[in-house]
Amino acid sequence: MAIHEEEVKHVAKLAKLSFPDEEVHQFTEQLGKIIEMVELLEEVDTTGVPITTSVTPSINVMREDVATTGTSRDELLKNVPESENGYIKVPAIMDNGEAGA
């Protein structure tokens, strides 16, 4: 299956990435090659074969519902790019509303 630049732009949007035009071109070519390599799988008959998403037999792993002390807010905020009064500061979203976020 050939992949087109429009599709690459759509995938980039889903992935929250943006590329200059020349990189879109390069990515289209490279993704095309990788997808071609992956299409080798079409020759395998997988009728009735279950899908493996994890090699562990566990389904859900639960722990006791006991409250424990979390990491202190001051420590967590050490790595935040911008904060104010104990809150994480982000740029305003007013200009195009929440739909753009």
Partner: protein, 488 residues
């Protein structure tokens, strides 16, 4: 006294117990080695000098006894394992300023063993790559030839050990990232069974494949470190509640009657003739030691790379969504609104290989393509896993080459698909969740090391170590040194 930086863990332990050296001496000597050798190798991204010396002094004060075989031993840590207050970047610009507020479980276990973390090691960005060339910060060099790659993604972890800077390191292996650099640098690297070692605090790339494991200069050292880092961890839901044996217990050199299979698919045309020759010689050694070695088949292994790139990229595209410039890491200055923060921080913060995999993963999981790509890959993964189960019904171990070639030149491979194919022999092991290791078994072109891959049944690392140790005792490959350590 022999040079401290060339001794194995048991020899160092004996010197520490008999007080011929102190942990402080050993730590100081380790930093001296790093300062002398690392300008040529460029394996370290951060050093932990002040704290390491403090720890060493405290350990000396407490005293080292025979019951603590790892006390006072310096260790290097791959930079995707989070270390409290010690910068952890995963070799990415997006985490260039990240200082974790907690330790990974493996770090807690190392501290319980009184091991001394001396620094963080370079890698491919987010462990995506096979040569350590995708690191944002620097390109690590192969310990044997500084014009060659150290392999990847644990290239820093392998080259630092092989060049005599540190005796042991931790790496992580998603598709061969411990075994391939171990092979390229002539050392021992083990990827444990999925679930054997906690992944809590390992920056996630592909959650169903990633495992942390040790890289060392010999088999016993490796087993000692696996003893220390294994076990159930309630903070990792995929960690296994399987008992942890003493992995050094079976290191007797006796493997008479052991049944070993060698897959015909692992010895095909894609494998360099010199690599194949070294493996054939290894087969002869195992036979001399009293094991039986038969040709077996893993018919779906040729689909491993395709399956891996769909599954690993899909999981990566999901795991890497957390890097959005909000709570930690790089935030773009070029923003007008919140959407810009996400898109610009990610676009400026991630390197090309990481973006390529996020794109492939997002594509495979997107509406209309899920069945043809992700689901199909998951089904073929089942067949790959069944191939291993089939062989392990009759055999104790599987052996073959760890890599199709010896280390290639820095900058030599630029095509992603060619780079991906380099992992063709290691990837099936991760997909099946079984343990795999690479040990030195000879030399190929330009006297570069060749790695023998040993694959075991789930949670049977003990048998792998037993066979690896017997092979090591019967051969001298692990004794050869690279030029940086005075070898030819």
């Amino acid at each position: 006294m022999a040079k401290l930086n060339e001794l194995n863990l048991t020899e160092l332990h004996d010197l520490l117990v008999s007080k011929e050296i102190t942990a402080t001496d050993l730590t100081e000597e380790t930093f001296a080695q790093i300062k002398e050798k690392d300008p040529k190798i460029e394996a370290f991204l951060a050093l932990n000098e002040e704290k390491a010396l403090e720890m060493a002094k405290a350990i000396d004060l407490k005293g080292i006894t025979t019951e603590n075989p790892l006390a006072g031993i310096p260790i290097g840590i791959k930079d995707n394992i989070v270390t409290k207050d010690l910068r952890t970047t995963a070799a990415s610009k997006i985490l260039y300023n990240f200082d974790p507020v907690y330790d990974a479980t493996v770090m807690e276990k190392l501290y319980q063993s009184d091991m001394i973390p001396v620094g963080k090691l370079n890698m491919d960005e987010f462990a995506m790559g096979g040569s350590t060339e995708t690191s944002y910060f620097k390109k690590t060099k192969n310990a044997w030839d500084q014009t060659k790659v150290p392999g990847g993604s644990s290239g820093g972890s392998a080259a630092a050990v092989a060049s005599g800077q540190i005796p042991v390191s931790l790496g992580s292996d998603t598709g061969g990232s411990i075994r391939q650099p171990a092979a390229f640098n002539g050392i021992v690297g083990l990827k444990p069974t999925y679930g054997r070692v906690s992944r809590f605090g390992l920056i996630a790339f592909s959650s169903s494949l990633d495992q942390i494991g040790p890289l060392t200069r010999n088999v016993k050292d490796n087993a000692l470190v696996l003893n220390a880092i294994s076990g159930l961890d309630e903070r990792d839901g995929t960690s296994a509640g399987v008992s942890v044996p003493d992995f050094t217990a079976g290191l007797t050199g006796d493997i008479k009657g052991m049944k070993i299979g060698i897959p015909k698919e692992y010895m095909g045309e894609g494998v360099q003739p010199e690599v194949r020759k070294a493996i054939e010689k290894a087969v002869a050694t195992f036979k001399e030691l009293g094991a039986t070695v038969d040709e077996v088949s893993l018919p779906h292994s040729k689909y491993g790379v395709a399956v891996y790139y769909i599954i690993a990229s899909s999981e990566a595209s999901s795991n890497l969504q957390r890097f959005d410039g909000i709570r930690y890491g790089y935030r773009s200055k070029n923003v007008q609104n919140l959407e810009d923060v996400y898109i610009n921080s990610r676009s400026e913060g991630f390197g090309l290989e990481v973006k390529r995999r996020i794109m492939l993963g997002t594509f495979s999981l997107s509406s209309g393509y899920y069945d043809a790509y992700f689901k199909k890959a998951g089904q073929v993964r089942t067949l790959i896993k069944q191939d291993f189960e089939q062989v392990f019904n009759d055999y104790d171990l599987i052996i073959g080459p760890a890599t199709p070639s010896v280390a290639f030149g820095l900058g030599e491979i630029s095509d992603p698909v060619t780079m991906y194919m380099n992992d063709i022999l290691t990837i099936p092991v991760n997909l099946a969740g079984v343990p795999g290791m690479s040990i030195p078994c000879g030399f190929g072109k330009d006297h570069l090391p060749v790695g023998l891959q040993i694959i075991g049944k789930p949670f049977d690392e003990a048998t792998m170590y037993k066979a690896a140790y017997a092979f090591e005792q019967a051969t001298d490959y692990h004794k050869e040194k690279p030029a940086i350590l005075g070898g030819k």
